[in-house]
């Protein structure tokens, strides 16, 4: 059986979206996790809850608000106007923004937990060895929190790959722009192309299995090293 070229397009788009989102999530999530883990500011509880919201909200609710924000009348639309677009919704950029919001808790939570688990002591030791706070962060906190980073990155990647509701709300179904695998499968089912749907679904199952397996293998290996 021959897969239509737009399936390859969907696969490539999905991987591109997941990879880009993961990189952005790590860049945003690391300082956020550090602040959530170490600050005693009142705002920690509020920000922590906001970050966790996508865990409980239906994707459609999240998608709806993102649509409002990214759409022509929201700040996203105004922003898009700067480079001559009408809206950030229904664009790849919009999908990346949506994915970052949607997958944020999956990246922030493991990293935050890893930072909390460090405790005060390694950083105190580093400080007594003349390490500045910046050096302590890079030479001690980040290497010691490595399992948290790995878990966060993999979960963020996987969760973005599996995203459906949010994509449907803010991305629609534009081949090469917003039509990711999960949407493609939905399309095939809608149009009764069972074989294609089967194939893509099986592909997703294998990918998901590989990802979850790799997380547990990594954690096991790191656990052994620490012994």
């Amino acid at each position: 059986m021959n897969l239509a070229p737009d399936i390859w397009l969907s696969l490539w788009l999905t991987i591109k979206l997941a990879a880009l989102s993961t990189v952005i999530l790590l860049l945003i999530g690391t300082p956020l996790a550090w602040w959530l883990a170490r600050s005693r500011h009142m705002a920690v509880d509020i920000v922590g809850s906001l970050v966790a919201m996508p865990l409980v909200l239906p994707p459609t609710v999240l998608g709806f608000y993102l649509l409002m924000i990214l759409g022509p009348n929201g700040p996203g639309g105004l922003l898009a106007g700067l480079w001559g677009q009408r809206t950030l919704a229904f664009s790849f950029t919009g999908l990346v923004i949506g994915s970052v919001v949607y997958s944020l808790p999956f990246v922030v939570q493991p990293i935050r937990n890893a930072f909390v688990a460090l405790g005060e002591r390694p950083l105190e030791v580093a400080a007594t060895l003349r390490a500045t706070p910046w050096q302590s962060f890079w030479r001690v906190a980040v290497p010691l929190a490595r399992p948290g980073f790995l878990t966060g990155a993999i979960l963020g990647f996987a969760h973005t790959m599996g995203e459906f509701g949010v994509v449907l709300m803010i991305g629609g179904n534009i081949p090469g722009e917003t039509k990711v695998l999960s949407v493609a499968i939905y399309d095939f089912v809608e149009t009764a192309q069972w074989a294609q749907a089967h194939l893509l679904s099986a592909l997703m199952v294998v990918l998901a299995l590989a990802i979850i397996l790799s997380v547990s293998l990594i954690e096991k290996r790191i656990g052994r090293q620490a012994l």
Partner: protein
């Protein structure tokens, strides 16, 4: 000799308030000694900058680390800090831990890695992972790591308290060697008198966040106003020089200010200094020159002071030598024999010492 370390701290610790003021000499080991929960560790953390006392003055080598509005952050203070738990970095091997705090640009008088490895016996551990080390080995690496950051002041917070007796016995000789080989001043927190006796030159007694006494070891140990004398195993420590060795009897003669001791053979050569510990309960007193007995050590001394203890005993403070100007010594006697012998302050007596504990070379 480096200028003294000047500490003055005031803070509210919840259970009690901290209010201390003392000086530690610019060389040798100063022990902060007191019961658990008396504020010793907080004092050490304030000196390191890990805790900021509400009011404080920390001045090291005439250099203010904390004074009025100024508070130098931890990483700008040239300290070495050894925590109770070794707290090695789990992501680095022993070498990585040792070199973590080494200055990027070495100074000519820096302590080199090789010397620290040799001093602490780390050669066989250098490529190992911290997780594969024993408790004692880990603490030795932690001490080496602190030393290699080239501190001007070494702070040790009960470095032996978390270890079993075997590991303690393994580390103590290393600490004694540090004391002898390095001119680095050390502030050593402990609640274990045995460690103080083996290591300290100077002692600061802490109770409930207050300094109740500070001074050279022998002086504080033999001060009748202080609680150390009331301890069951009250004792004094002093430095003694080997003046003769008799191999046929296996005996060594040691000289202190005001007398000489004969002790069973040990390592060491003539003119070496050794630290001695003499327990008050091993010293007995006589009015007249005792007849020859199996107790080899008879010395002259003068009674300088005394203190009654709760259990009908008296701890007598003695000065060695006819005039009593030599080293201080403590003797624990019953009140009955004290009265029987008609002992009194100022009296010249004969002292018999049943045993002398040797605490290692100096």
């Amino acid at each position: 000799m480096r200028p003294p370390i000047r500490i003055r701290l005031k803070d509210d610790l919840g259970r009690f308030s901290l209010d201390v003021r003392f000086e530690a000499p610019g060389r040798g080991v100063t022990a902060l000694f007191g019961p658990s929960g008396s504020g010793k560790t907080t004092i050490l953390r304030c000196i390191a900058g890990l805790h900021r006392a509400k009011l404080g003055e920390v001045i090291v080598e005439d250099w203010p680390w904390q004074v009025d509005g100024l508070f130098r952050p931890v990483h700008e203070r040239p300290i070495g800090y050894v925590f109770q738990e070794a707290s090695l970095f789990a992501h680095l091997n022993v070498r990585g831990n040792l070199t973590f705090g080494m200055p990027a640009v070495a100074q000519p008088d820096d302590l080199p890695l090789d010397e620290v490895v040799q001093l602490l016996g780390l050669a066989n551990l250098i490529d190992r992972n911290p997780a594969s080390l024993s408790g004692g080995e880990r603490q030795r690496v932690a001490i080496g790591r602190a030393l290699l950051s080239q501190p001007r002041l070494l702070l040790m917070d009960e470095p032996l308290a978390a270890l079993d007796q075997a590991s303690r016995d393994e580390i103590l000789p290393f600490l004694e060697r540090l004391h002898d080989r390095l001119s680095l001043p050390i502030i050593y927190v402990t609640h274990d008198m045995r460690e103080v006796e083996r290591l300290a030159d100077h002692i600061v007694l802490i109770e409930q966040g207050r300094v109740i006494a500070a001074g050279p070891m022998a002086q504080v140990q033999s001060d009748p106003q202080l609680p150390l004398m009331k301890l069951r195993d009250a004792s004094v420590t002093m430095l003694a020089r080997i003046i003769a060795r008799d191999r046929s009897y296996g005996l060594t003669t040691l000289a202190v200010d005001g007398g000489t001791f004969l002790v069973p053979m040990m390592q060491g050569e003539v003119d070496e200094y050794h630290r001695l510990r003499i327990a008050a309960s091993d010293v007995s007193l006589a009015r007249e020159q005792p007849n020859p007995s199996t107790i080899a050590n008879n010395l002259r001394a003068r009674i300088l002071d005394l203190r009654h203890t709760d259990d009908h005993q008296i701890v007598v403070v003695l000065g060695l030598g006819e005039a009593g100007f030599g080293e201080r010594l403590l003797a624990r006697v019953t009140r009955h024999s004290f009265d029987e012998l008609q002992l009194a302050k100022g009296l010249s007596v004969f002292v018999q010492i049943k045993s002398v504990a040797l605490m290692g070379a100096r």
